[in-house]
Subunit: 452 residues, 2 copies
């Protein structure tokens, strides 16, 4: 452990946490995977701290697992045996916020919703809004290329990133991208780091694109359907009509039932799905137009409003979804994405998999993007999902791929999805990705065993 | 030349053009750089043709320069000595166009505007619209990550690409990306290929994102300004007001004068800049609102219209810009991009460089993106730009970098910008990019000497 003493000596006091219980608190994310035992945790406060830590890790061949708030759902930030858990949570500076250029330069520990609020003070917004955005960090969002509810209009995290500052495993500092809206000098290294789950280097700053915040509150609708197929048709009709929703969320019967059992929302027996949508374009009648398309496609109940309070009530139902499910057991939150037209078929496939394996699955979907979160609910107290849950998940993943979809829309591969990875990417892609990993991290110390 | 006989034998009849004059016709793009002499040209008609050609090239270590329509402005598709010019112009299939999923799968030889027209038949559009889009190909647009006039609202080519099929130099076929709107399985190889200027492999198909076409014709305005600073202020005001223009083009006095000398547009003596903009949001009064913001910022004349014919007249002035300049001499079309707030300063820098070196520069800008095209006009008949032009260009590039900008917003590095490349990207980035190049192209046969 002399190595560790070197690290403690090289960093300012208090940065290295060597007490096993303390370091252990940094060892897991929101997955139930049993983590390895970290050697220590380092809580970085500056780029220099990161450089020092990585140089030391390179010298001594110690694996490094970077982490933000630990809200990940795929195991990307779980400890590997003997690693340094490198927490970025204290690097919280907003280095710059330029309303004129509509950009912000931030450190990775900034909470996503905090950046959004800082931007709104200038009439701007930071668009990416993963469900965790009140507690997750920009750095974690970058590592997984996080999505969110507003993606359907504003795109994923990648679409809001212009440039990065990255510390490579050997301690060199790499600047990628630029401050400008456009630019094609050299390969797109920015895109390479976004979504790389900490396997190539550690992001210490990001130049992010802000957007004009809508001037009026969004118009909101909700609709209940007697079948998932009808709800899927309504989604297609809304997109085809050019409604440009800024949010379009689908909940299945199991989700609605879990919410109803908890909060008594008056769920009618025949309701099989609910769609909730918003438009922030400021076009009068936008919510009513989407609601009318739902009715044309078989909705049995619709409501539309421009009142923020009423909107909050409708959206509030969606916000309860995860908590309602957690009341029923331990949740494995999954994340497949299919071409939008395949959404109804994918939901049927999920239902069939649930029945086939006797699994309880309840699904919410970012419907406008074809991104589904089937939540597998199982008995509390188990260390990991039981075999019938994995068997159902396996069916769901294979169905998504068969429908032209992907294993993960916005959560990342982490550890959880690695065993399915080669079904999607093929051999050549795997070779190329390992080659790229080797360019940045020839010793394989950056978050080994994750993502690729 | 036995090697060449092998290639001729391996490909279907007619694919290999060995006559030096015929092959030479494929040797250059729209730059005036003297190209090398190609060994031959191959006009591929299928992915198999590309695989055969690259396998042969790998076996015999022959450089390969892929090309589309040859409309590039940075020399990316100019021949290197003894290379195969690999033309993709005959791979023109639209393999799929799905209105439900809003995607198209196309081969690289498809003309960009043709895809846009095919999409519009379904109420959709293909958003990227480089000025060359009636003659340039999707493959060429992908290679340079082409921009265009609509970028200000819809982003660059990268923002419309979901996945690629690529033949690697050793003949292996790589599939990148996906058909879905979101996805984070593995590193972003799609982004890596877009803008890589043919240095990593040859794109043989692309899955592209289409968008809903606006339902009403765009609303258009034009405004004349007594100073560039005033026009720059108007741009800032339009963006800050959340107008979301779908086009926002700036022309300087030299550009207007060239157009006036040719077509007599009645240019007033005091006019130093013109701004032309459009909104396709369908919001009533959108053009009038932008025009009013121009007036508030000092415009001496404004016009706004929703009539397609009148719009065509206003936009027509912008369309004449390049041809008007070509009447005056040979044009070096440059392509710097700066943060939007630096646009007026950058224009002043361009004017100062012109005066300092006695160069004639006339500038158009995609103003909403901060992307400027200073066009250096010099004496016809010269093989390449004279020293005073390069000296002025050097000043312009350095000024753009000083202002936080980039050497190229949408044309690429090609050959023309290589000597300035290290000023922008720094040593670590150069190392990493060469490392990535080596993963895909260890023999260095793909478009050597270009881009990185």
């Amino acid at each position: 452990m002399n190595h560790l003493a070197d690290l403690v000596a090289a960093l300012p006091a208090g940065r290295v946490l060597t007490d096993p219980d303390v370091a252990g608190a940094y060892a897991r994310d929101q997955t139930f995977l049993p983590p390895g035992t970290p050697l220590c945790a380092v809580v970085a406060e500056s780029r220099d701290d990161v450089v020092t830590t990585l140089r030391w890790a390179t010298e001594h061949r110690v694996p490094v697992v970077p982490r933000g708030a630990g809200t990940g759902l795929a195991g990307g930030a779980t400890a590997v045996e003997g690693c340094v858990m490198l927490s970025m949570i204290r690097m919280t500076a907003v280095r710059e916020l330029s309303p004129a250029d509509e950009i912000a330069v931030v450190e990775p520990g900034v909470i996503t919703a905090d950046l959004d609020r800082a931007a709104r003070a200038h009439g701007l917004m930071y668009a990416p809004d993963p469900s965790s955005y009140e507690i997750s960090t920009i750095g974690g969002n970058l590592a997984t290329n996080a999505g969110g509810l507003r993606c359907v209009k504003y795109g994923v995290t990648r679409d809001s990133v212009l440039g990065l500052e990255v510390v490579l495993p050997d301690g060199r500092v790499l600047a990628t991208g630029r401050r400008t809206m456009k630019g094609v000098t050299g390969y797109d290294l920015t895109g390479l780091f976004v979504g790389s789950e900490g396997t190539l280097g550690v992001i210490t700053a990001a130049t992010l694109r802000l957007r004009r915040a809508p001037e009026t509150p969004p118009a909101t609708f909700a609709a209940e359907f007697p079948s998932l197929r009808a709800a899927g048709d309504a989604v297609a009709a809304i997109i085809a009509a050019g409604c440009r929703p800024s949010l379009l969320e689908l909940m299945d019967r199991n989700t609605l039932k879990a919410i109803d059992d908890w909060k008594n929302i008056g769920l009618e027996p025949g309701v099989r799905a609910m769609l909730i949508g918003q438009s922030d374009d400021g076009v009068p009648g936008a919510a009513e137009r989407m609601a009318a398309l739902c009715e044309e496609n078989g909705a049995t109940f619709v409501a539309a409003t421009s009142s923020p309070d009423e909107a909050e009530e409708l959206i509030g139902v969606r916000r309860l979804a995860y908590q309602a499910k957690e009341r029923l057991g331990t949740c494995l939150v999954e994340d497949v994405c299919v071409p939008r037209s395949a959404l109804p078929v994918m939901i049927s496939e999920i239902e069939a998999a649930a029945e086939r394996h006797g699994a309880l699955i309840s699904t919410v979907a970012h419907a406008g993007d074809g991104n589904l979160h089937p939540v597998f609910i199982f008995e509390r107290g188990l260390a990991e999902p039981p075999p019938h849950v994995w068997a159902a998940a396996d069916d769901v993943f294979r169905a998504a791929l068969r429908l032209g979809g992907t294993l993960t829309g916005e959560h990342g591969v982490g550890v959880l999805k690695r065993r399915w990875l080669d079904l999607e990417r093929g051999e050549v892609s795997g070779d190329v990705q390992r080659g790229i990993k080797n360019v940045f991290d020839p010793l394989g110390i950056m978050n080994p065993g994750k993502a690729i």
